[in-house]
Symmetry: none
Subunit: 219 residues, 2 copies
DNA sequence: AAAAACCTTAAGGAACTGTTAAGATGTTAT
DNA sequence: ATAACATCTTAACAGTTCCTTAAGGTTTTT
């Protein structure tokens, strides 16, 4: 189990590190939200849970959490802060946090809450289901409605779905869907168009790079 | 960057803490060498630098430093003391300290020496610390908000970000972003302008030289 | 004041994507 | 076997986005 600790207070980081490691977690620490987000988005690191401080220099915990959620990263987030005002709790939880703990906190309580979060999630973390799309053997279930897809369309959607929220380059799509067959790059565009016609505008174009499946309903 | 401050004089501890934190360091304080050494060897805490007072109750700074070095702990040590006798300096430096500063010391000098030590060790002090910016695959996260960037803009921002706080010359930008393509120098200006429009006035012009990404939010 | 460096804006073209349709190929029903 | 159908690919044209250059204005230096 990999846990990211995003916290700038060294004494807390060290405490958490010691305790979490003792409990059998792998701990990756980040002193700023930027670094953490960069690890996730630039380097594709994955975590089973995130312990996220609110008061951070630069991007704060609430903003970071909101960003994660907007991009479809469904990892359990335990928010940590010195603020105990009801309003702050609301803000934190509204941003997508799963739990909220105020400093000073009991380390045993934190562990208990963390275990609870992981249990609740069943343990599958970064980048799982909730996109409103499920691939079936005849096509896809989109917002509860069944849509028929052709083979290529289904494969294309599958790859995009596996990388939900992340940009997939045309080269990668050609490689994964067309397995290196000698076809023009433009076939991707055409199939994206067909997919869009069928499942709505959930596929975003990233100019000069490729495509990205985004969350939520189209338009 | 984490700095351990090992010092029993509270007024000095507080001064250092305030200043160092302001400079973007994480500070961990210890009132005795025993506690510091215990943190290092018993708990495996790691530091990028140590500011170590010589006159400490129990194990003194020189002994502590020697102990560190004997165990192969190669962290930069800046020794701090009221003793200005040459002999003491020699003892301190011989014990493995990297630099030596006598009280009363100027805080700016201390910072400069600390930076120098870190630089010498190859620690990247280019402050990967808070800038409020994270580059993503579609653009950048600026103060928690996603901003879409074009390819050139993103590359330009990436180079500036890698050198944040430092001036990057136009030649270097042309070389790193435009890879030696034969383009006019003016393209840099234009793209800087576009970047400024999108991420705010975080890019400072250094007349006759180039550009620099500055910390914090614009105005 | 002149010169140099920078800012700002806009236009043209290059590169990329959207869209449509036709032909090729393969599949199913008759 | 043949017709009807479905799918895939390519090609062509239209539309969009992006990059660079150019030109005139502003600021800074000499």
């Amino acid at each position: 189990m990999r846990v990211a600790v995003v916290e700038d207070d060294l004494s807390i980081v060290n405490l958490l590190k010691r305790v979490l490691i003792k409990e059998g977690f792998s701990v990756r620490e980040f002193s700023t939200a930027e670094r953490f987000l960069s690890a996730v988005f630039d380097y594709g690191e994955e975590f089973d849970a995130v312990i996220l401080d609110v008061m951070l220099p630069g991007i704060n915990g609430v903003e970071a959490c909101r960003f994660l959620r907007e991009r479809g990263y469904d990892v359990p987030v335990l928010m940590l802060t010195a603020l105990s005002e009801e309003d702050d709790k609301v803000k934190g939880l509204d941003s997508g946090a799963d739990d909220y703990l105020t400093k000073p906190f009991g380390i045993r309580e934190l562990l208990a809450r963390l275990r609870a979060l992981l249990r609740r999630r069943g343990k599958v973390l970064l980048a799982p289901e909730p996109s409103g799309i499920v691939i079936t053997d005849v096509g896809a279930l989109v917002d509860g409605k069944e849509v028929k897809l052709t083979g290529r369309e289904r494969e294309l959607l599958r790859v995009l779905l596996e990388n939900r929220g992340k940009v997939v380059s045309k080269e990668e799509l050609l490689q994964k869907v067309w397995k290196g067959e000698a076809v023009s790059k433009r076939v991707v565009d055409v199939h994206v168009k067909h997919l869009r016609d069928k499942i709505g505008d959930r596929i975003e174009t990233v100019w000069g790079v490729g495509y990205r499946l985004v969350e939520g309903a189209p338009e």
